[in-house]
């Protein structure tokens, strides 16, 4: 039996087209030995949930710079739950005000990261969340 790899979906929901952050994180997770499925720009929560199901990922990382995180995230959580994937851990990176960050975590988001967050922290948190 081969070693179990951590599989992460990195997605960019919403309408802003800035995907540099998502690519930096994807690359960093790859260098940490994870398998990162990159979906590209302008994904709807429906598209992200479908990809998370087909790819049987452990983690979904969202990059949201448009300010729409309070609309997009609950919808994604709902879809994952509907698909039987409540175990999937959600991480969000972007411009997220502190009060929203608290509310997102209450909803079930595992980690929220703003500008200047270190990739080492993200890698550590992802590994911890998956392996327990």
């Amino acid at each position: 039996m081969t070693e179990k790899k951590i599989r992460v979906l990195v997605a960019k929901p919403g309408l802003d087209g800035h995907d540099r952050g998502a690519k930096v994180v994807a690359r960093a997770l790859r260098d940490a030995g994870m398998e990162v499925i990159y979906t590209g720009l302008r994904q709807t929560p429906e598209m992200i949930a479908e990809a998370a199901l087909q790819e049987d990922v452990d983690v979904v990382g969202l990059s949201i710079l448009s300010g729409a995180h309070m609309a997009l995230t609950p919808r994604l959580l709902e879809l994952l739950k509907y698909n039987g994937q409540s175990h999937v851990k959600i991480f969000i990176g972007g411009i997220i005000p502190d009060e929203d960050s608290h509310r997102l975590k209450e909803m079930g988001v595992t980690g929220v990261y703003g500008p200047g967050a270190s990739t080492e922290d993200i890698i550590r948190d992802v590994k911890l969340a998956v392996t327990g």
Binding site: M1, T2, E3, K4, K5, R7, A26, R27, L29, R30, D31, A32, G33, M34, E35, V36, I37, Y38, T39, G40, Q43, E46, M47, E50, A51, L53, Q54, E55, D56, N83, G84, Q85
Partner: protein, 332 residues
């Protein structure tokens, strides 16, 4: 959970989870493969290979749309990308080009990393294709990593192999002539709106003519001479000459002609007996490799590590040759 029952009944989550078990070569995955095996052998396996950047993923996207719209076939896609040889990590980006397929329950896309395997596929790609076959997908498309010369494993797995080229690759085309073009059932010149498409097509044609003589027109001092193809006997009437299809995948051009070629190839395989031959060869190769795996593990169980290490040490000291050592260890 009994994966095989759930997969046969169309449970997509169970299918996704079983694919993970199969990919990780977990015992549950192996058990399900055994149960699912009687349900396999129905799907048409299409391999898509070619150099990086020739547009394989975009082509798979358009072909799948075409199969869905015009033939109402259920399509599964296994997209393979390379793992890093240093960290074992991977970025799997083929889905980026396949966003048109989102929201269609008749399509299932699964990305996989090579995990150290060479040859353009991962170790368990064939088993993943079997799972999709048993799950009732009519077509399973296997997209290899961007391949160069010898990544030809896909031809052993697929019924129909598409080799994708693009104009302007220059020397690369020359370089891959010996290896990958030989496995093509259909040659696709993608990005055919780019300059140089005639040259690409011409060099592919001349390569094919060496293997399959056809009528040719020679230009000599301004005079053209027709040379008829050699007479075909009854056996070569069943011969398949790989067609060359021009496509512009991102605009959907040439896709229905390509799909027609694929259909013609299936008809050819069924009539010529090629389908049965390919199935037989594939299963034979699989059986052989499983036997090899079993024998190696039985050997490891029977021969004490100490004995193995002692003999290895003698080989390193040049006291025994590897051939003698192998004979001793296997009690020849």
């Amino acid at each position: 959970m009994n994966y095989s029952q759930a997969v046969l009944s169309g449970d997509r989550l169970a299918l996704a989870r079983l694919l993970t078990q199969v990919e990780n070569e977990a015992p549950e995955g192996r058990a399900a493969l055994i149960e699912l095996f009687p349900h396999t052998g129905q799907a048409h396996l299409i391999g898509v290979t070619g150099a990086p950047g020739t547009g394989k993923s975009s082509l798979v996207n358009q072909l799948t749309l075409h199969f869905r719209k015009t033939q109402n076939k259920r399509v599964a896609i296994v997209a393979v990308d390379p793992s890093s040889p240093f960290t074992g990590g991977a970025v799997l980006g083929d889905r980026v080009r396949m966003r048109d397929l989102s929201g269609d329950s008749g399509v299932f896309i699964r990305s996989m990393a090579t995990r150290g395997s060479l040859g353009g596929l991962a170790q368990s790609t064939a088993n993943m294709a079997q799972v999709f076959d048993a799950a009732g997908f009519d077509i399973v498309i296997i997209e290899t990593v961007g391949a160069g010369q010898s990544e030809v494993d896909v031809a052993r797995l697929a019924h129909t192999t598409l080799v994708v080229e693009a104009p302007g690759l220059g020397d690369d085309i020359q370089a891959i002539k010996a290896g990958i073009l030989e496995i093509a059932d259909i040659l696709v010149v993608n990005k055919a709106d780019r300059p140089g498409v005639e040259n690409t097509e011409k060099s592919l044609k001349s390569m094919l003519e060496l293997a399959h003589p056809t009528e040719r027109v020679f230009q000599h001092h301004g005079q053209s001479t027709r040379v008829a193809a050699p007479k075909q006997d009854s056996s070569s009437a069943l011969m398949w000459i790989p067609p060359i299809q021009r496509t512009v995948a991102i605009e959907g051009k040439g896709i229905s002609e390509l799909a027609q070629s694929i259909t013609r190839h299936v008809t050819h395989l069924t009539h010529s007996g090629g389908w049965a031959i390919r199935e037989r060869t594939r299963l034979e190769v699989e059986l052989d490799s499983l036997i090899r795996e079993k024998l190696v593990s039985r050997f490891r169980d029977e021969v004490p590590q100490k004995q193995y290490d002692d003999i290895l040490e003698k080989v390193i000291q040049r006291e025994l040759s590897p051939w003698e050592a192998a004979a001793m260890l296997t009690y020849e």
